[in-house]
C-alpha cells in the first residue's frame, strides 16, 4: 500500500463519528463516514475503501448484518467498534466475518494500531508457494487455490493460513497466532483466532466439521497438516 489507506467509518453517533474522523485523519488516513448501515454499504460500492470501521449498534440494519452483507461480495478488512469485550457481540461480530474488534471508549492510538496491523496482513513478503493436499498457497501472488479454483480469503484469513503454512505440522498457540497475525499484545482475545479458524476451515476444508488441514491441538492451539 503505497498510497494513503482509505477508510470507511460507519458510526451513528455524531460526536463519536466526528471525533474518530478527526483522530484517524490526524493519524494519516483518508476517512469517509456514514451514519447508517445502508449509507455505509452505498459508500462502500462507490469508494472502494481499503478497510471498514464499523459500529455494532446502528439504527436500521445493525453492524452484524452490514458485516454479513459485505462478506458476501468483498473480503476487505472489517474492524468492529463494540461496547464490551466479553460480550456476545464480539462472538457474533467475529462470526459475521469481522477481522478484529475495538472496545469503546476507543483510544485513537489503539484503533490506529489495529488498522495498520490489519492492513499489513495483505502485504506480500515471500516468493514461494506451498501445497497441502489439494490446497496451494502461492505466497508470491498472495492467492490460495483449492483444486485449481481461487479461494476468496480476507487478509486476516490469508495471513493466518500463511503463518500456519510457514510451520507445517507444528502447533501454534492462540496467543502466538494473535501476535503473528493480529499483532496484538499479550492480552489478545483467543476468540479472534477461533472465529477466524472457523471461517478459514469453511473455505479450505472439504468437510469443515471434520477438518483434515487445520487441526485443533487440544490445550495448545492449531496446526496445519498435509492430509495423509
Amino acid at each position: 500500500m503505497t498510497s494513503v489507506p482509505s477508510l470507511l467509518l460507519i458510526e451513528d453517533d455524531d460526536a463519536i463519528r466526528t471525533a474518530l474522523e478527526l483522530s484517524l485523519t490526524r493519524q494519516g488516513h483518508r476517512v469517509a463516514t456514514a451514519a447508517t448501515g445502508e449509507d455505509g454499504l452505498k459508500l462502500l460500492r462507490e469508494q472502494r475503501p481499503d478497510l471498514i470501521v464499523l459500529d455494532v449498534m446502528l439504527p436500521g440494519i445493525d453492524g452484524f448484518e452490514v458485516c454479513r452483507r459485505i462478506r458476501r461480495t468483498d473480503q476487505l478488512p472489517i474492524i468492529l467498534l463494540t461496547a464490551r469485550s466479553d460480550d456476545i457481540d464480539v462472538v457474533v461480530g467475529l462470526e459475521s466475518g469481522a477481522d478484529d474488534y475495538v472496545v469503546k471508549p476507543v483510544q485513537g492510538r489503539v484503533l490506529d494500531a489495529r488498522i495498520r496491523a490489519v492492513l499489513r496482513r495483505g502485504e506480500r513478503e515471500a516468493n514461494d508457494s506451498a501445497a497441502f493436499g489439494s490446497l496451494v498457497i502461492d505466497r508470491a501472488a498472495m492467492t490460495v487455490t483449492k483444486n485449481g479454483e481461487d479461494l476468496q480469503l480476507t487478509p486476516t484469513e490469508l495471513r493466518l493460513l500463511l503463518e500456519l503454512s510457514r510451520r507445517p505440522g507444528q502447533a501454534l498457540s492462540r496467543q502466538q497466532l494473535l501476535r503473528l497475525v493480529w499483532e496484538h499484545d499479550y492480552l489478545g482475545d483467543s476468540r479472534l483466532v477461533d472465529a477466524c479458524v472457523q471461517r478459514l476451515r469453511a473455505k479450505v476444508e472439504d468437510v469443515p466439521s471434520s477438518p483434515t488441514l487445520i487441526r485443533t491441538v487440544r490445550g495448545v492451539g492449531y496446526r496445519l497438516d498435509s492430509p495423509s
Binding site: 453517533d13 460526536a15 463519536i16 466526528t18 471525533a19 474518530l20 478527526l22 483522530s23 490526524r26 461496547a83 464490551r84 469485550s85 466479553d86 460480550d87 456476545i88 469503546k104 471508549p105 476507543v106 483510544q107 485513537g108 492510538r109 505440522g169 507444528q170 502447533a171 501454534l172 498457540s173 492462540r174 496467543q175 502466538q176 499484545d185 499479550y186 492480552l187 489478545g188 482475545d189 483467543s190 476468540r191 477461533d194 479458524v197 472457523q198 466439521s209 471434520s210 477438518p211 487441526r215 485443533t216 491441538v217 487440544r218 490445550g219 495448545v220 492451539g221 492449531y222 496446526r223 497438516d225 498435509s226 495423509s228
Partner: protein, 528 residues
C-alpha cells in the same frame, strides 16, 4: 470404573433412605408405642376380667353339680347303711355312689362293730384317705353346735387341690346321727383344659389387638407424617430460594391450617423478595444504563483529547502554558473518567451476572511478566515465577487482577513488590507482597469493599475505589479467591488462588513444540 461407583451410589442412596426413615422414627415410634400400650392395657384388662369371671362360673357350676350329687348320694346311700357297716357294705355303697353322672371317686369311712375303722372305696387306686387334706378331714369331722343359724351338727366341706399338676375337687361330709363319713374326689381337668384354651384364645386375641393397634398407629402416623413430610420438603425448597413453592391444602384439620399458613407466608415472602429484587434490579439497571450512556460522549471526548495531547507533544512551546496545563488536565481526567466508567461497567456486569469468561491456555509467568512490562513496573516488581506453569483461564481477567493487586501494592507499600507464583496441584497461587506498613486490623475485613475509605495510613488518592473489589470478582468468576493478610515480616500480602482449569493441560504438549502429523500425544479434534 463405573460399577463400583454405581455400587457406592447405591449404598449412599440406601443409607439416605434409612436415615430418612430414622428421622421419622421418633414420632412414628412414639405413636406406635402409645397405641400399643393403650391396646395392651385394654386387651389385658378385658381378657383378665373375662377369664376370671369365666373361671369362677365354670368352676362354681361344676362344683355345685358335683357336690349336689355327692350330697344326694350320701343321703340316699350312706345314710341307709347300718350304724356299723361291714367292709363289703361300705365298698358296695361307695361303688354305687360313685356311679353317678358326675364321675367322682368316693371313699366311705365308718366304724364297725369292734370299733375299727372300715373303708369303702369306689376305686382304690386313685382315691385314698391320704389324698384328702387334713384340714378338710378336720372340718368335716368337727361337730358344730346347733344354733338358730345352724341346723346341723355336720356340714359338707370341699377344697380344691392340685395333685401331680392336676386340679381336683375334694369334698367331705358326715352323715348326721353317727353315720359314715364320705369323701369324694372329682378331677377338674376337663374344666382346667377348657379354661386353658380360653386363656390361649384370649392371649391370641390380645396379640391380634396389639398387631392391629400397631398397624393402626402406622396408618395414623402416616396420615399425620405425610403432610408433615410434605411441609418439610416445601419448607426446605423455600429455604433454597424456590419461593413459588406452595402446598396443596385439603381438609380442615390443624395440618391444613398449617399448610395454609405456610402458603400465605411463602406468598408474602415471594412478593417481598420480588419487590426487593425489582427495586434492586431497577437501580442496577440504572447504573448499567448510566455508565453505558456515559460511554458514548466519553468515546468522543477520549478521541478528541488524544488529538489535543498529540498536538501539545508535537508543537510544545508554541502553545500558551496555561492552555497546555488545561489540556493536560482534560486529558488526564478523561483517562480517569474512562477508568471509572470502565470499572463501573465491570461491576454492574458482575452484579447482573452477565460477566463471561474468555478462556485460553497461557503460561502464567509470561502473563505476569507481560502485565508488569506493559505498565512499566519491571524495576519495581521482584517476580519469582517458574516458567512453564500453564493454566486455563481468562488472560484479560487475570491481567485485571494482577494489575489491581500489584498497582495497589506499589501505591500503598512502595517498591519492591514481591510476586511469587506457586503451583499447588489443581490450584495456582499467586502471592503479592509489599513492604509497606501493612493493613490495619480494622480495615482488613473491608479491603475488598467497594469505595471503602481506608484510614489515613492507606489513603486512596487515585483509583476508582473499585479495583480490589473487581479483582476479587474476577477471581470468583474463575472459581478462585483472594485473601488479604499482613505478613509476619511486615507488609501486606494478597494471596490469589485460581483453579488451574481443565485437566487436559496434563496431556497437552508445550506450546510451539514439534508435533508430528499423526502423533498420538496430541489429539486433533473435530472442531475448535
Amino acid at each position: 470404573m463405573t460399577a463400583p461407583r454405581g455400587r457406592v451410589r447405591g449404598w449412599a442412596a440406601a443409607r439416605r433412605t434409612i436415615l430418612a426413615g430414622l428421622r421419622f422414627t421418633s414420632l412414628r415410634l412414639r405413636l406406635v408405642v402409645v397405641f400399643g400400650l393403650v391396646a395392651l392395657t385394654a386387651a389385658v384388662s378385658a381378657s383378665g376380667i373375662a377369664y376370671w369371671l369365666n373361671r369362677e362360673a365354670v368352676l362354681t357350676r361344676t362344683q355345685d353339680a358335683v357336690l349336689g350329687d355327692f350330697q344326694q348320694a350320701m343321703q340316699t346311700r350312706a345314710s341307709t347303711l347300718p350304724p356299723h357297716p361291714t367292709q363289703d357294705e361300705l365298698q358296695r355303697a361307695a361303688g354305687q355312689m360313685a356311679n353317678s353322672s358326675q364321675r367322682f371317686s368316693v371313699l366311705l369311712l365308718a366304724e364297725d362293730g369292734d370299733g375299727d375303722t372300715v373303708r369303702g372305696n369306689s376305686d382304690l387306686d386313685t382315691f385314698t384317705l391320704e389324698d384328702v387334706p387334713a384340714s378338710l378331714r378336720k372340718a368335716v369331722n368337727r361337730e358344730q353346735e346347733i344354733t338358730s343359724n345352724n341346723k346341723y351338727t355336720y356340714h359338707l366341706y370341699w377344697q380344691r387341690i392340685v395333685q401331680d399338676d392336676k386340679p381336683y375337687l375334694v369334698g367331705g361330709a358326715k352323715v348326721i346321727g353317727g353315720g359314715p363319713t364320705g369323701y369324694m374326689l372329682k378331677s377338674l381337668e376337663p374344666e382346667a383344659k377348657d379354661l386353658n384354651s380360653l386363656a390361649w384364645s384370649l392371649g391370641i386375641a390380645t396379640g391380634l389387638a396389639l398387631i392391629g393397634s400397631a398397624l393402626l398407629a402406622q396408618a395414623a402416623a402416616t396420615t399425620v407424617l405425610k403432610p408433615v413430610h410434605r411441609l418439610g420438603i416445601a419448607a426446605r425448597r423455600l429455604g433454597e430460594g424456590k419461593l413459588d413453592t406452595r402446598l396443596r391444602v385439603s381438609g380442615t384439620d390443624e395440618l391444613a391450617d398449617l399448610s395454609r399458613t405456610f402458603n400465605r407466608t411463602a406468598e408474602s415472602l415471594e412478593k417481598r423478595v420480588a419487590d426487593m429484587s425489582a427495586r434492586d434490579e431497577a437501580s442496577r439497571r440504572f447504573v448499567a444504563d448510566m455508565s453505558h450512556e456515559l460511554r458514548t460522549p466519553l468515546t468522543a471526548i477520549t478521541a478528541v483529547s488524544e488529538v489535543l495531547e498529540e498536538e501539545l507533544d508535537a508543537e510544545s512551546g508554541s502553545v500558551d502554558p496555561m492552555i497546555e496545563s488545561a489540556v493536560r488536565l482534560v486529558v488526564s481526567e478523561t483517562r480517569r473518567l474512562n477508568n471509572l466508567v470502565e470499572n463501573l461497567m465491570e461491576v454492574t456486569r458482575f452484579d447482573a451476572g452477565t460477566a463471561r469468561l474468555v478462556l485460553d491456555t497461557v503460561d502464567i509467568a509470561d502473563q505476569i511478566t507481560a502485565c508488569i512490562d506493559a505498565r512499566a513496573w519491571l524495576d519495581a516488581v521482584d517476580l519469582d515465577a517458574p516458567r512453564g506453569i500453564m493454566a486455563h483461564l481468562d488472560p484479560r481477567r487475570l491481567d485485571v487482577i494482577l494489575a489491581n493487586l500489584i498497582g495497589n501494592a506499589l501505591k500503598h507499600g512502595g517498591s519492591p513488590v514481591r510476586v511469587r507464583v506457586r503451583d499447588e496441584g489443581d490450584e495456582l497461587v499467586i502471592e503479592v507482597r509489599d513492604h509497606g506498613p501493612g493493613i490495619p486490623e480494622d480495615v482488613l475485613p473491608h479491603v475488598f469493599d467497594r469505595f471503602y475509605k481506608a484510614s489515613a495510613s492507606r489513603p486512596r488518592s487515585e483509583g476508582s475505589g473499585l479495583g480490589l473489589s473487581i479483582a476479587l470478582e474476577n477471581a470468583h468468576i474463575h472459581g478462585g479467591g483472594i485473601t488479604a493478610a499482613n505478613s509476619p515480616e511486615g507488609g501486606a500480602v494478597f494471596t490469589l488462588r485460581l483453579p488451574r482449569g481443565s485437566s487436559e493441560l496434563a496431556d497437552a504438549e508445550p506450546a510451539g513444540g514439534p508435533g508430528k502429523p499423526d502423533d498420538g500425544g496430541t489429539r486433533p479434534e473435530g472442531d475448535a
